[in-house]
């Protein structure tokens, strides 16, 4: 593997190369050695290839991030662990159905947003599947006899249907259905973006609005195509088709680099129930200070490893890390440190000593040395500094 890697400019370019290779081979197989290739879709084909490369580059960069890499490696390792098989299947199933198919968590953020998102996402998925399928020739429709169409996927004949039956009708209109869904969703999203003051707080034009405009352009030109040949006798059809092609290619180019990139990274959500919950939905790691459960060992180990790999020094004097404490204890520790109220001796997690040693009860007692002097180690540091005076002085 390492050797293979060395023969490429970088890992990313290696992955890109193999992606294109696989795409090419899949085309070769499914179009019967390019016999059935649809040259009218050449523009889309090139656009899709660039899209694939862009996606691979972005995915690789994302997976090389320390944090992403840690959780991804752990999940892959857990995925194939025998004793976790049942649990994994369950997590995968739940995430797939609840989060990706039904998108329940978005509906919990609001019914409006739920409908809006499910429209856009499913509209896009349908359209993408259909477009890619046709451009790469993964499936096609052959006319076997004047009355029957046959669907051929990867060069394997599948179902046949009557040329004007309802199944065929659905297939003809698949892209239109997708487009209408996206159109509804995008209009809802745009209305929300323009009307809702709350979303404007962090909204950015190039990130939040631009993708909506691009999607709008794609769907409107796509639907205009249908309108043109169905109702207007193909009026302006070549021009609209060219404009549509351009908008689609712009979208494909934009996809890996903008907001839409959240789609391919979403499946990482399975990693959460799969790797970060020893018992589903139950915390098992307890806080070092208050002994309340707040997380689980695997996750804290990962967090510490990620922080360490990026040179965050969050270790305390006693060897524990700040992430070994529950968030509430961490906040308290910060406040105590700030107010100079940490328990000076003994059990650092014990009750705080609010007798500060300054306001002393009675004359016979003396203030503790520690409030006038300097700590031993600081004394040593200071002396050392004297010994080695900086050269510049």
């Amino acid at each position: 593997m390492f050797k293979l890697e060395k023969s490429f400019y970088s890992k990313t370019s290696m992955y890109s190369f193999f992606t294109i290779l696989i795409l090419f081979l899949s085309m070769w197989v499914s179009t019967a050695q390019f016999l059935h290739i649809d040259m009218a879709l050449l523009g889309y084909m090139i656009g899709s290839a660039v899209f694939a490369i862009g996606l691979v580059i972005r995915m690789s960069f994302w997976l090389f991030r320390t944090a992403t890499n840690k959780i991804a490696t752990r999940s892959v390792k857990n995925m194939f662990a025998k004793e976790r098989l049942k649990r994994n299947a369950k997590s995968l199933g739940i995430t797939l159905i609840d989060n990706i198919l039904l998108q329940k968590f978005i509906f919990k953020r609001g019914l409006y947003r739920g409908i809006q998102h499910i429209m856009i996402s499913w509209g896009c998925i349908i359209s993408f599947a259909f477009t890619f399928g046709l451009t790469f020739g993964w499936f096609r429709f052959d006319l076997v006899d004047p009355e029957t169409y046959q669907m051929v996927a990867f060069n394997i004949p599948l179902i046949s249907m009557a040329a004007n039956g309802w199944i065929a009708e659905i297939f003809y209109n698949m892209l239109n259905i997708g487009a209408v869904m996206v159109l509804i969703g995008v209009s809802m999203a745009m209305y929300r973006r323009f009307k809702d003051y709350d979303v404007k707080v962090t909204q950015r034009f190039e990130f939040d609005l631009l993708p909506l405009y691009i999607l709008l352009a794609v769907t409107v030109t796509g639907l205009a195509l249908t309108v043109s040949y169905k109702f207007l006798d193909g009026w302006m059809h070549p021009y609209i088709s060219l404009i549509h092609q351009i908008t689609v290619i712009i979208m494909l180019m934009y996809f890996p680099f903008g907001k839409l990139f959240h789609v391919p990274i979403r499946p990482l959500a399975t990693a959460v129930p799969m790797s970060y919950q020893e018992t589903l939905m139950v915390d098992t790691k307890t806080c070092k200070s208050c002994a309340q459960p707040y997380s689980n060992d695997d996750q804290i180990a990962d967090v510490q490893a990620i922080l360490k790999a990026q040179s965050f020094d969050l270790q305390l004097a006693d060897g524990t890390y700040l992430s070994d404490y529950c968030p509430s204890c961490r906040r308290r520790m910060r406040a105590l440190k700030q107010m100079n109220m940490e328990a000076p001796q003994g059990n650092p997690y014990g009750p705080v000593n609010t007798n500060n040693g300054i306001h002393i009860s009675g004359f016979g007692k003396k203030r503790s040395d520690e409030y006038f002097g300097i700590d031993e180690d600081i004394k040593k540091d200071l002396k050392e500094e004297k010994d080695h005076e900086p050269i510049s002085r």
Partner: protein, 183 residues
């Protein structure tokens, strides 16, 4: 933005006005993002307010596998981007100060963003604008320096003598987002 959040924990009287105000802020969805907690309930009723430090190099963003935590050009560390956050809670454990909160229902993280829509325009965040005892303040850099000097003097009056090695223990919390060029 050239202002600084200045916290003096001792001034907190535990009225929780800041939390009520936080809930009202735009985009906060009626959930508070700051904390008012007891220093040690068994010892006294002293409370302290707690907000996000808006770190320059935030640990929360570094541990996020989805790259969902963005930093604005002013330096404000925002809540998770809703479309990216996968709900792993790494950020809540990575943050050295225990700041990010997690909404299990909506499956996303939310945290103090210094009321970005306000501070962006140099208006004090909700918490600072309501705090009756000035435990949370939103002030100029110079004013902060002055307050810190006075604080050091007070420490001397009280008999605490900061030394070279530990003088930083004697200045109150301050943090904020400000452009270096202007300060």
């Amino acid at each position: 933005m050239n202002k600084i959040m200045y916290l003096e924990f001792e001034r907190c009287i535990g009225c929780r006005a800041c939390q009520a105000a936080c809930r009202e802020c735009g985009d906060h969805d009626a959930k508070e993002r700051n904390y008012v907690e007891y220093v040690d309930f068994t010892e006294s009723r002293q409370t302290f307010p707690m907000l996000c430090m808006q770190c320059k190099d935030p640990a929360c963003a570094r541990v996020c596998p989805a790259n969902a935590i963005q930093i604005t050009e002013e330096g404000v560390v925002l809540s998770a981007m809703e479309e990216k956050c996968i709900g792993c809670r790494n950020c809540t454990f990575g943050c050295p100060f225990g700041i990010p909160k997690f909404d299990f229902e909506k499956n996303k993280m939310y945290k103090c963003d210094m009321c970005y829509d306000r501070t962006r325009e140099d208006i004090a965040p909700m918490c600072a604008s309501v705090c009756p005892s000035d435990a949370i303040r939103f002030i100029d850099f110079d004013e902060m320096q002055q307050l810190r000097r006075r604080r050091t003097q007070m420490n001397l009056v009280e008999g605490k003598k900061p030394q070279e090695g530990n003088k930083w223990d004697y200045v109150p919390e301050f943090f904020g987002v400000y452009t270096d060029s202007q300060s």
